[in-house]
Amino acid sequence: MFVGVDVGGTYTDAVLLDHEAVRATAKIPTRADLLESVLEALDIVLKDVDNKDLKRIVISTTVITNLIAGRKYDKVALLLIPGPGLSHRYYDFKTKTIILTGAIDYRGREIVPLDEKEIVAALSELAAEGYKKVGVAGKFSPRNSAHEKQVAAIIQEKYPDWQVELGFRAGPQLNFPRRAATTYLTCATREPYRNFVNSVRQALEKRKISAEVFILKADGGTMPLDKSVEQPVETIFSGPAASTLGVQALTPPDETEVVVDIGGTTTDIALILNGQPLLSAKGARVNEQLTQVHTLAVRSVPVGGDSLLELAGDEIVFRPERLGPAYCMGGPAPTPTDALRVLGLTALGEEAKAEVAMEKLGAPLGLSAAETAGRVIDLIADSITAEVEKMFLEWEQEPAYRIWELLQKRKVRPSIVAGVGGGADGLIPQIAAKLGCDPVIPPYAPVANAVGAAVARPTLQVSLRADTEQGYYQIREEGFQGKIDKRSFNEQKALALAREKLLERAADYGLAVTPDEIEVTYREVFNMIRGWDTSGRLYDFTVQTPRGITCRIEKGGK
């Protein structure tokens, strides 16, 4: 049996899955203590279960989001090695930042060496200001991490108790500013996150739960609890990933769907294209900083069932704030929920109160309660639909760098609008109608996020880059470098090497992966010509364990 737990801002949800059936669900208000929320929800769904039958627990939490939003971490300094390029004055990571001499180029060659004296002086400066956590990030460090490692070695030697995070691990993609920001966040959150992980482990031990525990990532994959400490920031924004995977598990396969999660004051929109959740082309924006954190493509609209409605001139508008519950549920002001109540699209609250709310709102415009409610629903559905259209447009206009990629670009239209979260189910048919889709409220929609967590599967990837002219290959995630023979190395060998490294990594993570399951997700081969002769080849491969969900939910058991 599997358990999925999703700790959201307002509610914590859990489900117990037995093969393809939901056996138990829980929905509780999220407590100030996240762990407490997890345990309370777990205890509810595990009430009649023998812990020995429990194989896996997947948790999606807001722990990182809360740490970062509340700045609940020690101060972190950044040591950057940008070398030539964009002027350093544009780098503003909202923290103490020192620029170091040194440069690596796009092929990982050192063009300017480090200056050890300068590094020592920078460290004294940080020490004097009381820093004990340092992120070190260099331009092109994923191509050659030697400079970052050298700086780390000096820190270890002089200040062995400092915590050091290196850019090539935290941000292995090509994007130096995002690498620096991601390194900063990793450095800031690792220790408090590790504390969270330890307390989860202790609490489960106390309950004699020995199931494997995984943490959901923003891209819909999972990591074993212990390993998640290596990339804590990857666990941010896992909520929308949980809902999207939930819809994937609860609706027919291979569909193109819009997932709409309408909450109290925000609506999250995600896309499933031909059965696969759409990933964001770039990393997440965290606290106004762009990072390299992989996430699903999610758009948030500041509107929900409890949004405040008011008049602006002779237009009805919604405001992003929440004054309280809907008027029909004893709140102070008209909300979209009142509109839904008036039109009979929800059973929440008192009908008479909803009528009053809509009447008051529409009176200055000479509208009846029903007319006002109609306008409100139209307005909300329109703004959500507009965002959905923008998402499709953005996806269609994502840059392509190869002719075949550009030519195969095509328009994909959704066939289903799936509503989850239960915030305002009544809106889903309206949105679907505007998009020409079928509205679907899947079974277990209120806990679809927990279902999504339960069916999420671990993903691991390995990126190999080989430069035969320089005679080496490297594994980006590990900063590992090995020699290759320039003449005999070829594409098959590159791929075999990448696969082998992935299997090693999987074994280290305790994941059972067979070689034929491995997917090649990125493949780039370039002949290097110098003069008129081939002087070498550049190979760039990314291989990963299969993405997707462990099962679909076919039947309910409850």
Partner: protein, 457 residues
């Protein structure tokens, strides 16, 4: 990253490296060309800057091509999808600039185009179709842009662009390049100044090998900017070749990324379009960064090649450049006082013959070009062309008729009559009528008696 001036419009960037296209596997114009540029601009996070807005290209239409080039026998025979994408990228950015979405743009695309002339029988100087010319003609036909200046900063003379706008008084073409006596295509001398109706609207600045940023900035300040200020273009294009770089394997000049960035900053082009540049590791990543930052109004002072140095020019070379600039300024001052040599006249027509060599495809083309001298418009142009594709294989003759955008009724009628007559005469294998004033193209295949047409939508 924190940025000032967030209210200003961004620079539009299309990066299309065509990683799956090459002229041949070891050709300079191959898949790998923009690989390290990709690495550099991605690693710098350029696309994340609020001052830069990345676009994905669209394909130009065959009609867009046909309104600039006479492709023999047809557009489809001379262009691949890669060419349509490169030209389409330039058009898309130009559209966004004219409509005010972006403040300027850079089509960092390949394949290049500035050696492609009006008539296209094949590839010359790595080019099949002229991206800038196609874009400029699009703006003039469709967006009401009248006066355009094109500044070509490639090490090779932009002979294709020169050919296309030779007779056009509303398109100013300025090319500075390495002296044609020392490099392909062997043209671009100071006496090449444009047709009788567009005298000095073509300006060539052949630079001695070894010229540095110093001479580059001298000609910009003392020749190009003053001429631009007289000409008052509605739209400025930079054919941004990067092979004047001190590390380029084909050129012998000594410009740096700083020089290119400074050029861009001074020139303030609306749209820059990549042309040549084959020092793919040592120049392109840095020069492209410099151009992007300069267009976006960002500090580029730290964009330095690993082996950057401030090159020194000999006094001799500098003096040579100064004298040439003076001479060209005098010609520019007298631009409206040209008299046509009577030997070039046949009745009311200005005519001359041209031999054009296609180095990539080894084609020898012979042209007889006739311009109708008209008091009311720039006059229509007729080109009789015949190509010898090597190994004695000779194509038939083709007749190309081009009606300018602001043509008078009499020129239009005469060209249209000529087209109909040529169709019947069977002297030509192909007959074409390119009517820019009506946004209409007609082509006729004499062998099968079939006509095709395309119109702007």
């Amino acid at each position: 990253m924190s940025m000032s001036n967030a209210s200003e419009k961004p620079t539009g960037l299309i990066f299309f490296p065509a990683f799956d296209w090459a002229i041949s596997p070891t050709h300079p114009e191959r898949e790998e060309r923009l690989l390290y540029t990709r690495d550099q601009i991605f690693e710098e996070g350029i696309m994340d800057l609020p001052q830069v807005s990345e676009y994905t290209p669209v394909l130009a239409t065959t009609h867009d091509i046909a309104m600039t080039h006479f492709c023999v026998p047809r557009v489809e025979d001379q262009v691949t999808e890669a060419h349509l994408i490169a030209a389409g990228a330039a058009i898309l950015l130009a559209d966004e600039i004219v409509s005010g979405q972006i403040k300027n743009g850079f089509a960092l695309v390949r394949p290049p185009g500035h050696h492609s002339m009006r008539v296209v029988h094949g590839n010359r100087g790595f080019c099949n179709i002229n991206n800038e010319a196609i874009m400029v003609n699009y703006l003039r036909r469709r967006k009401g842009i009248k006066r355009v200046a094109i500044i070509d900063s490639d090490v090779h003379h932009g002979d294709g662009t020169q050919d296309i706008f030779w007779h056009d008084p509303d398109v100013l073409f300025i090319s500075f390049h390495q002296d044609g006596r020392t490099i392909f295509p062997g043209t671009g001398f100071t006496n090449e100044l444009g047709g009788p109706g567009a005298y000095a609207r073509t300006i060539n600045i052949p630079l001695p090998p070894g010229a540095t940023d110093e001479s580059l900035l001298y000609i910009v300040d003392n020749l190009i900017l003053p001429v631009l200020s007289d000409f008052k273009p509605d739209f400025i294009v930079n054919s941004a070749g990067q092979d004047n770089h001190f590390t380029d394997p084909l050129g012998s000049m000594r410009f740096t990324a700083q020089g290119y960035a400074r050029l861009t900053e001074k020139l303030r082009p609306d749209l820059a379009v990549l042309e040549g540049g084959y020092a793919i590791e040592t120049a392109l990543p840095y020069v492209n960064m410099g151009i992007i930052l300069a267009l976006a109004g960002l500090d580029y002072s730290a964009v330095l090649e690993p082996d950057y140095q401030k090159f020194r020019e000999s006094a001799d070379l500098a003096g040579q450049v100064r004298r040439m600039v003076d001479q060209l300024l005098q010609r520019w001052a007298k631009r409206d006082q040209v008299s046509i040599s009577q030997s070039d006249m046949t009745g009311n027509y200005f005519q001359h013959t041209k031999r054009i060599y296609y180095d990539t495809d080894n084609i020898q083309e012979n042209q007889l070009e006739k311009l109708r001298l008209c008091d009311n418009c720039p006059g229509y142009l007729s080109i009789e062309t015949k190509a010898n594709h090597g190994y004695g294989q000779t194509g038939g003759k083709a007749l190309c008729l081009s009606i300018p955008i602001d043509a008078c009724a009499s020129c239009r009628t005469e060209a249209a009559d000529l087209y109909e007559k040529a169709k019947k005469a069977r002297t030509y294998s192909y007959v074409y009528l390119q009517d820019k004033s009506a946004d209409l193209f007609l082509g006729y295949d004499t062998a099968n008696g079939k006509e095709w047409r395309s119109e702007g939508s």
